[in-house]
């Protein structure tokens, strides 16, 4: 009897603990299912500025310059990264020591984070064959574009560790969106 009580008390403990979490976070409707870890890994292509989702891999400027031709990037973006029908990929030539905002609307120089460059190539290029590049190829193409824009030196190897550490010229040179709350004006002090 005493043993039974002890067993009962012991078995209640985890249930009680579970009960506490479950009370705060249990689903109300119970519709839908949990994804498998494999599903989440396959779907989760968003790369944060801190880069924790970056896949293991590496690439170089040299390999990137080859891929730029072999993957037909040059066909739309121009052999030199400009002059094509697709958006230009090389900064405007406005001299070395200027506000990076004057380099133009060019992703691999204007973006505050190199992760955005990697993420967009990975998810959205090449046109019509999106999602076909390997992680190594994306690292190489990113390296090549950053090299073309004088962000990294020739010979730099980019991987999941080094990519998020790249200091883009606009790293701290952009305006964050304001904290948002319901029914607040879009800009305090601006009546319009």
């Amino acid at each position: 009897m005493r043993l039974l009580k002890q067993v009962a008390a012991l078995s209640l403990l985890p249930l009680l603990l579970l009960g506490v979490t479950a009370q705060a976070q249990s689903p109300t409707y119970g519709v839908g299912r949990a994804p498998t870890e494999v599903e989440v890994r396959a779907w989760d292509i968003a790369i944060s500025p801190t880069g924790e989702e970056l896949p293991v891999g590496s690439g170089t400027v040299d390999k990137g310059s080859e891929l730029y031709l072999s993957k037909a990037c040059a066909g739309c973006h121009g052999t030199t990264g400009s002059g094509g029908i697709a958006p230009r990929l090389v900064k405007d030539d406005v001299g070395p020591d200027v506000d990076p905002w004057r380099f133009g609307r060019v992703l691999p120089i204007r973006s505050p984070y190199a992760t955005t460059v990697w993420d967009f190539i990975n998810r959205a290029m090449p046109l019509g064959q999106e999602g076909t590049l390997t992680p190594d190829e994306v690292y190489s193409l990113t390296a090549y574009l950053l090299f073309l824009n004088d962000v990294i030196a020739d010979g730099t190897v980019l991987d999941e560790k080094s990519l998020p550490l790249i200091e883009m010229p606009n790293r701290d040179n952009w305006a964050q969106v304001p904290d948002w709350f319901p029914r607040q004006p879009r800009l305090y002090g601006y009546p319009y």
């Binding site: 689903p27 409707y29 949990a34 968003a46 500025p49 973006s111 019509g128 999106e130 305006a175 879009r186």
Partner: protein
């Protein structure tokens, strides 16, 4: 035989003669004593029985916007503007709803039975929903406008379709995003979400959790039927009052995260100026007169019901004023029906035009007190010298002036 009977015999004879000279279904001439009929009578078709069709006399259409043709040389749809000059009420028909995309899009052809929405990241219970499961969840139906950040009038434009056509309003049905996020159990410190589509660029936007939990909708229906493919079939996110790009179409995934992700879409709105960033986020109070508007022709002086649309990303429209003298004096317009939060609101104004040159303007005030500015007021606020060309910071919500010339022609009056 009385003359009356004789007339009838003649009439019958003529009628037979007329009918034999005309093919079936061809336009008939009004016969003496009969009212004129329509141009023709159409035989029913299976297609029209199944889904209906508008009259061949109604020719209102969307147009490519922003100097880039849709479809472009790749076959991508880019920006397409709604014919606001023909709009009545507040609902934009789904087939005429404006469209915007980030890079230009091929429209994905999605089998809804194979489509899923995944919610994962900083949550207790990651979830995957089928479309059928989403439709089992508690739903809401709301009127909301969407507007493109590039909906900006300029002196080079003629019609209201060109100046303001990158906004539309529909009745949207779906599940509140907050319902789904609560079901998943959001972690402390998860201040952002990344919403992502399934199209070829897999367009994704960062959104603050405060907005996600407030009034965002995961929509499967618009205007009483499934969301149109150009609008994100089978599922789109609706972010009421935020700029168009946030309303992620072909929605597949919501990742709950602790930081702003600087996605390519986010990067597209990147600016160096904090005021520009703030004013390009939540849409300001805005309105435009759709009749009479640029390119239209008034037949002569006399009575006209001036009509237009007003909206705000900050709340509901609380007041609309109209000026017929270029903004010197203002009179209240009538708000038609209920002004819904973050929805187009129809206003009208009774105007007796005396036939002299006039300048029509409208001005919107929303229920959080924001007032639509003139370009002059914007210039004054930012200390821009008079006469210096400038672009309104953020999303352009400035007043649109229409000049009615004495010959009744209507022109864009932006200097």
């Amino acid at each position: 035989m009385s003359s009356k009977q004789s007339d009838r015999r003649e009439f019958l004879k003529r009628g037979v003669a007329l009918a034999s000279g005309l093919g079936l279904g061809a336009a008939t001439q009004p016969v003496l004593g009969q009212l004129p009929g329509p141009e023709a009578h159409q035989h029913g078709t299976d297609e029209i029985v199944a889904y209906g069709k508008r009259s061949r006399f109604v020719t209102s259409v969307r147009i490519p916007h922003g100097g880039r043709h849709s479809p472009d040389t790749f076959g991508l749809d880019f920006h397409i503007a709604a014919p606001l000059q023909d709009s009545v009420g507040v609902i934009t028909p789904s087939s005429l709803h404006y469209m915007g995309t980030t890079r230009g899009s091929f429209i994905p052809d999605i089998d809804p039975d194979k489509h899923h929405l995944m919610i994962h990241g900083m949550v207790d219970n990651p979830l995957v929903f089928t479309m059928a499961e989403l439709k089992r969840m508690p739903s809401v139906t709301r009127l909301h406008f969407i507007e493109c950040a590039g909906n900006r009038s300029s002196s080079r434009m003629t019609t209201v379709q060109e100046t303001h056509g990158m906004t539309s309003c529909a009745e949207w049905t779906g599940v509140l995003l907050s319902t789904l996020l609560k079901e998943a159990g959001v972690h402390e410190g998860a201040d952002w979400i990344v919403a992502e589509g399934v199209e070829e660029v897999k367009g994704a936007s960062s959104l603050p959790m405060t907005k996600a939990m407030d009034d965002c909708l995961v929509c499967y229906a618009m205007n009483g039927e499934a969301v149109r493919p150009q609008q994100g079939f089978p599922l789109r996110l609706l972010v009421p009052g935020f700029e168009g790009i946030f309303n992620v179409k072909w929605l597949r995934r919501i990742k709950v995260v602790d930081q702003y992700y600087m996605t390519y879409n986010d990067y597209g709105h990147l600016t160096q100026d904090p005021a520009n960033a703030a004013l390009g986020y939540q849409i300001g109070p805005k309105s435009v007169i759709t009749y009479p508007s640029g390119g239209q022709q008034l037949p002569g002086h006399g009575f006209y019901e001036v009509s237009g649309l007003a909206w705000s990303g900050g709340g509901a429209v609380s007041r609309v004023e109209v000026s017929t003298d270029g903004g010197r004096t203002w009179m209240d317009a009538e708000i038609r029906g209920t002004a819904h939060p973050m929805a187009h609101t129809r206003f009208t104004f009774q105007w007796n035009w005396d036939g002299t040159e006039s300048e029509l303007q409208s001005r919107c005030t929303d229920d959080i007190g924001q007032v639509q500015p003139s370009r002059a007021q914007v210039a004054e606020f930012w200390n821009i010298p008079a006469g210096q060309p400038f672009s309104v910071k953020g999303q352009d919500n400035s007043i649109q002036p229409w000049r009615v010339a004495s010959d009744g022609s209507v022109h864009n009056a932006i200097a």
